[in-house]
């Protein structure tokens, strides 16, 4: 029943509100990423040169970038190119830590934490079905993660336009694709993975430690992007998102099978 799902979400929100170690990272991480990256780009490059002039883009950085990005750079002034390259291209994988890491923290507490504190038994004794319980437990991590990501994106865009370029230049088409497809796909990936991890781990810490590995795809993206194997633009983004969404469906299907009363009680 929908009411039960809402009741679980409300309860989880009350619990999170009272737990600093949960909500502080949820607020700090997006702020850190969305503020520190544009601020760094706005001030560091000019400070690196003796004259205070913004350096040109090193040739090495341009070697593996896709044509779409090369065209965009060419349309900009020389002193804007380095900042644009980082803001619009190289920082994209770092930004994706937000939709991956926030669900990992929230899910570890919500799923494995309840198991560890044995409070899950009280919910399992009520008439709610296994699937409703799973949906109820997923909503808060999903909503919190997506909200944080979009809030961070708004701040990132605002600071980029105001602080660096002094005009409306960001988001680019690729970033709109990232926010529309890749971020939701990664959020679901994180939640799905954490459900499986939590169902198998005994407690919050164990789940969180194992969940730490969830940011690995970000490093994969970062490295493949640097090597020019995969680009975070157009077609590459859409195909990555499709692969991830397929993986999400499989993860959630498998997760819902492991997240049932008998499994939770037998392993608690």
């Amino acid at each position: 029943m929908r009411g039960d799902i809402i009741t679980i979400v409300e309860k989880d929100m009350r619990e999170f509100k009272g737990t600093k170690q949960i909500w502080i990272p949820v607020i700090l991480l997006p702020l850190l990423v969305s503020i520190s990256l544009p601020v760094t780009v706005a001030f560091i490059p000019s400070a690196m040169t003796a004259s205070g002039a913004i350096p040109e883009v090193p040739a090495g950085l341009l070697k593996n970038i896709p044509d779409e990005m090369r065209l965009a750079l060419n349309s900009l002034q020389k002193d804007e190119q380095l900042a644009f390259l980082f803001i619009a291209y190289y920082f994209a994988p770092t930004f994706l830590v937000v939709p991956l890491a926030i669900p990992a923290v929230l899910c570890a507490d919500s799923f494995a934490g309840e198991k560890e504190r044995k409070t899950i038994e009280a919910i399992l004794a009520t008439p709610i079905s296994d699937s409703e319980l799973l949906v109820g437990k997923m909503i808060l991590p999903l909503v919190a993660s997506l909200s944080s990501s979009y809030l961070a994106f708004t701040i990132y865009s605002y600071l980029t336009n105001v602080l660096i370029f002094h005009r409306f230049i960001f988001p680019t088409g690729s970033w709109i694709l990232i926010m529309s497809f890749l971020v939701p796909a990664l959020t679901f990936f994180s939640v799905g993975t954490m459900i499986i991890i939590s169902a198998r781990s005994k407690g919050f810490r164990e789940a969180q430690q194992m969940g730490g590995m969830i940011v690995l795809p970000v490093f994969v993206l970062l490295v493949t992007q640097l090597l020019g194997i995969m680009s975070m633009t157009g077609q590459g983004l859409v195909s990555t998102s499709i692969v991830l969404l397929t993986l999400d469906v499989l993860l959630l299907k498998y997760g819902s099978r492991t997240y049932n009363r008998d499994h939770l009680m037998s392993n608690s």
Partner: protein, 304 residues
């Protein structure tokens, strides 16, 4: 009403509940007793549909634990072996949350929470965070939580553990009302089981090894029974006469009382009293001294 038929639950190669068959009628209280690991908690979890059986069936108010678990959960109140309360929420928030999950209407839920918290002396502390409370107070809340939706069936795992004597008494009185509920209690407190349970089932290694009313179990499994005769002043000669008349190993003296072990109390008690009167003993009072249920339980388990 609860009907359990050949219920079995295995965890890997461990058989936690082994071919268990028993029934509990409406308004009846059944006590599950036995050592740790006997299968009591698993039995309660199976009935609460928190676990699925490996084989066998159980019906709770006519609903099958495998096919209709949600219906069962809506009519069952559970006190688990841990309190399962949210430390970060207040007492009221904990109860309100569970009341909502059982679909108790708003007005009724508020009234019921107030009534139950008041009965357990917790109403004034309703805004306290559960994490700040003692184990005993938490146990009270978990009992209140099990009653919030006025369930037709109660499954209680050590409900009075950690409770102070007045609250234990209050809980026992509350359970004694029954109100047509079928109740199963798992307990290590045999005195409590003896006081409130209509039937006691002794479990050992997942099996029910004995069942019956406490008095039946004592009669059936108690190896020795005794008669305690209080007499008016016992002289050394009288003591010697008693020992001569009875088997000396069967007689013990405690101040002005004579404790005589007898095999079949109902058949032999009158004869013993007659003998005392013949020996000139001024008998003031005579009563049966039954073996403790604890002693009987140990014997049942040893023989199982």
């Amino acid at each position: 009403m609860i009907e359990i038929t050949q219920l079995t639950r295995c965890f890997g190669s461990t058989v936690a509940v082994d071919n268990l068959t028993l029934s509990v009628g409406s308004g009846e209280i059944l006590g599950l007793v036995g050592p740790n690991g006997a299968g009591k908690t698993t039995t309660l979890r199976l009935l609460a549909t928190l676990l699925r059986p490996t084989s066998g069936t159980a019906l709770v108010e006519g609903y099958d634990i495998v096919r209709e678990p949600e219906r069962i959960r809506s009519i069952v109140g559970v006190v688990g072996d841990n309190q399962a309360l949210y430390d970060r929420l207040t007492i009221y928030e904990n109860l309100d949350f569970i009341g909502k999950m059982y679909h108790v209407p708003d007005q009724e839920r508020a009234e019921r929470i107030e009534e139950l918290l008041d009965a357990y002396g917790l109403w004034e502390r309703r805004s306290c965070r559960v994490g700040t409370l003692s184990k005993g107070l938490k146990q009270r809340i978990s009992i209140v939580r099990a009653l919030i939706h006025d369930p037709r069936v109660l499954l209680l795992d050590e409900p009075t553990a950690n409770l102070d004597p007045p609250t234990s008494l209050k809980t026992r009185k509350l359970l004694a009302h029954r109100d047509g509920k079928a109740i199963i209690i798992s307990t290590h407190n045999l005195r409590e089981a003896e006081k409130i349970c209509d039937t006691i089932v002794v479990m050992h290694e997942g099996r029910a090894v004995a069942a019956g009313a406490a008095s039946e179990l004592v009669r059936k499994f108690g190896s020795t029974q005794a008669i305690v005769i209080r007499a008016k002043g016992l002289s050394p000669d009288q003591r010697r006469d008693i020992e001569k008349a009875m088997h000396p190993n069967d007689v013990a003296f405690k101040e002005n009382a004579i404790v005589i072990s007898i095999k079949d109390y109902d058949a032999n008690a009158t004869e013993v009293i007659r003998k005392m009167l013949e020996l000139g003993i001024d008998v003031l009072e005579a009563h049966q001294a039954r073996p403790e249920l604890e002693e009987v339980l140990v014997k049942i388990i040893e023989e199982a």
